[in-house]
């Protein structure tokens, strides 16, 4: 029980170790499993090392570009706000100093006179344009003199806030207000002392439409909105999206700063917007520019979509390439392993064959000696019987000795064939008659032909020149081709073997069968190693070896085949012309 538990534990541990070592190929184990693991490991590793840096790079780029682009867009905005603020500043300062100058230059006595006041007002209108009216207010807050379109002379301002401010601070600039006149204007008030030592106030109002021209001079795009606010968040100039003059700005006011600043806010319609703004140092206003975030980031979004497209496409390409590559690679490895194994098997087979061959040769040789003795003894016996003048049952004994000698001859033939088979292992080039070799080879197959009722037709041309080849190798060539022919024909089929000269330098041996034949496709592959149509029975090496031998002998193999009609293999072997060397054997 505990043992079983132990072994289970071990396998679990082993599997974990294997999972950790991604780059290690499991040497042992079931073959298909092994390649699956290899394929998976390579795939994961390659994907990992290619996509991780890509993802990191993409993420870094994403953030860098985003930050960079934002700055690039927001900096000009900030500059515009800053510049416009200065323009406002200057405008207001000029108007205020004009009023201040008039108050100081003319004095109370002159300006209380409405004629003088009217002349001064006309000059101011000519010079600055946007002055709407001008009035002198007494220390008690009563309008003493007034020039302008409205009838406000004698009105009491003492209860109004601006009046008190002006009394305390000496100068005053109002928010935009409708006041008595029902259209937005700004009031400037300057306090002075008259000769009696009493305070008086010179008050001028200007039309705020002039302020709107500053906003339009900022040259903003259509989706942007620029406007002035006072410190209570009331619009001082009309806004495109947030209301008319003197309406309340719907969003929260930004924190106080006198530098141009940009913050992100909700735009009040569910999206984000950038708010560029600055507080005026000397006046109670805020200049604000609202730019829709979507507008600002338009180029970023197109950039981002490009970035994402490139990223996704490259990841897909990487996946495809890695998958294809891994598949190819592992297939190659698998093929190589298969080939290697097959080669090993073939080597082993060859080794076994050559061992058998050597053994056979040894046995054949050793048997020769006792056979020679039997031969001589029987021969001597025959001699004795023959030479004796009178021998009882002479004829009978002679028959017996003859049959012994015949049996010895048969033994000789058997050892001869055994040795011939064994000698295939050592290459020994001789001048050979192809007909003889074919006949020798057929002795291996005669039984099979008989058994399968296959008709063998031999057409040997007479007087063919010999070919230079190794007997064993040539036997192997014919044996392989004949084996294939036997495999191709049905019982009762026919195989014909013919030899004839083809030109003066070549002998052709044609082996024709009327068997199943081969398709074009098969024909293309038959000389490739490990290609076999015989399934498990075939090694896929017969024809490649045959081809190799024939090529080594300087010959060629021709194949003609028609499916269902049969196949003809023709072996072309070069004739060796005895060039004076002594081929006495």
């Amino acid at each position: 029980m505990s043992l079983a538990n132990n072994s289970k534990d071990k396998t679990r541990r082993a599997s974990r170790v294997e999972r950790l070592k991604l780059w290690e190929l499991p040497e042992h184990g079931a073959s298909p499993e092994r390649y699956k693991i290899l394929r998976r490991n390579i795939f994961i590793l390659m994907i990992f090392v290619t996509t991780v840096p890509l993802v990191i790079m993409a993420a870094i780029n994403y953030h860098e570009y985003q930050a960079g682009l934002k700055q690039e867009i927001l900096n000009p905005l900030r500059a515009t706000v800053s510049r416009t603020t200065h323009s406002f500043d200057l405008f207001l300062a000029q108007r205020l100093s004009a009023v201040s100058f008039v108050a100081s230059a003319y004095g109370y006595d002159d300006l209380v006179n409405e004629q003088t006041l009217g002349r001064v007002f006309r000059v101011m209108r000519e010079e600055f344009g946007e002055f709407v009216d001008l009035g002198v207010i007494s220390a008690q807050g009563i309008q003493l003199a007034y020039v302008g379109p409205y009838d406000v002379k004698g009105r009491d301002y003492s209860k109004q806030n601006w009046y008190h401010q002006a009394q305390i601070k000496g100068t005053y600039i109002s928010d935009v207000f409708l006041g008595y006149r029902k259209f937005p204007h700004i009031a400037f008030a300057v306090q002075r002392w008259n000769r009696q030592g009493k305070t008086w106030i010179l008050r001028a109002t200007i039309d705020t439409r002039r302020l709107n021209t500053f906003v339009s001079s900022m040259e903003l795009d259509r989706a942007s909105d620029a406007f002035l606010l006072n410190k209570e968040g009331v619009l001082q100039t009309p806004s495109k999206f947030y209301g008319k003059t003197l309406e309340k700005f719907p969003l929260q006011l930004p924190p106080t700063t006198y530098q141009a600043n940009v913050i992100e806010i909700g735009n009040g319609h569910g999206d984000l917007a950038f708010l560029a703004y600055t507080y005026f140092a000397d006046y109670p206003y805020i200049l604000a520019v609202v730019k829709q975030r979507a507008e600002v980031m338009k180029s970023w979004y197109s950039m981002k979509s490009n970035l994402i497209t490139v990223f996704v496409v490259s990841v897909i390409v990487i996946f495809l390439v890695v998958f294809g590559l891994t598949d190819q690679l592992v297939k190659r490895i698998e093929e190589c392993d298969e080939k290697r194994e097959a080669a090993f098997r073939q080597m082993e087979h060859n080794h076994k064959l050559s061992s058998i061959g050597r053994l056979a040769a040894g046995v054949a040789h050793e048997i020769n000696n006792p056979m020679a003795i039997i031969n001589e003894k029987a021969g001597l016996m025959k001699d004795l019987i023959e030479y004796a003048d009178e021998f009882p049952q002479k004829e009978r004994f002679l028959t017996i000795t003859d049959s012994i000698l015949n049996a010895v001859n048969r033994c000789g033939a058997i050892t001869h064939r055994l040795l011939g088979f064994a000698r295939r292992m050592d290459v020994n080039i001789e001048i050979l008659d192809v007909g003889d070799i074919v006949k020798e080879t057929l002795t291996f197959l005669e039984k099979e032909a008989l058994y399968h009722n296959i008709e063998l037709q031999l057409e040997f041309s007479v007087g063919l020149p010999g070919v230079a080849a190794d007997r064993g190798q040539l036997q192997q060539v014919f044996l392989n081709l004949l084996n294939n022919a036997f495999a191709a024909v049905q019982d009762g089929g026919a195989i014909s073997i013919s030899t004839r000269a083809r030109g003066p330098q070549t002998v052709a041996v044609a082996i024709r069968d009327n068997g199943c034949g081969m398709s074009e496709d098969t024909l293309e592959h038959i000389f490739e190693p490990f290609f076999s149509t015989k399934g498990a029975r075939g090694t896929g090496l017969g024809l490649p070896i045959t081809y190799g031998i024939v090529k080594k002998l300087g010959g060629e193999i021709e194949v003609e085949s028609k499916q269902g009609e049969g196949t003809t293999f023709t072996v072309l072997l070069p004739v060796k012309v005895p060039d004076g060397s002594n081929f006495s054997y």
């Binding site: 040769a361 001597l380 010895v408 040795l419």
Partner: protein, 152 residues
């Protein structure tokens, strides 16, 4: 040419084979004798001259090829017929290159051996005749046998 003047030395380490073959050749009127190895063969040749040596290629001790070399060196006129198994055709060919008269494969047909021996003897006789003629032209010599001449 009669068979009884042919002196044959059979060399084989298989005693049974050797004795039987000697008996059969003697039955056919040849002056046949047998020895069981290469060294003995060389000794026997020194003792009494022969015309044809039938030499087994594969022997214990001094093998056929070495023995052949020695015989060719010391007794160039003596003809040698090689006996081989099928596996030793290469050795037979080597023997032919060194200067053996011919080769036969075991087991041998007695008639075939007989013909080969006769042919070898004839060749040897012809050679000797030629030499005798040349020597006659050059001057008288104490002994007619070339092999004896070399031995002396």
């Amino acid at each position: 040419m009669s068979l009884d003047e042919i002196r044959v030395l059979l060399v084989d380490d298989e005693k049974e084979f050797l004795e039987t073959l000697v008996k059969r050749l003697v039955k056919r009127k040849l002056k046949a004798s047998g020895v069981g190895g290469g060294e003995q063969a060389l000794l026997a040749l020194r003792e009494k001259p022969v015309d044809v040596v039938v030499l087994d290629v594969k022997m214990a001790g001094m093998n056929g090829i070495e023995t052949l070399r020695e015989i060719r060196r010391h007794y160039p006129l003596v003809e040698v017929i090689m006996l081989t198994g099928h596996a030793n055709l290469e050795a037979a060919i080597e023997g032919m290159e060194i200067g053996a008269f011919d080769y036969l494969t075991k087991p041998v047909e007695i008639d075939e051996l007989l013909y080969k021996v006769q042919d070898a003897y004839q060749k040897k006789a012809l050679q000797e005749q030629k030499i005798a003629l040349m020597q006659a032209a050059a001057g008288p010599l104490p002994k007619p046998g070339a092999s004896d001449l070399l031995e002396g």
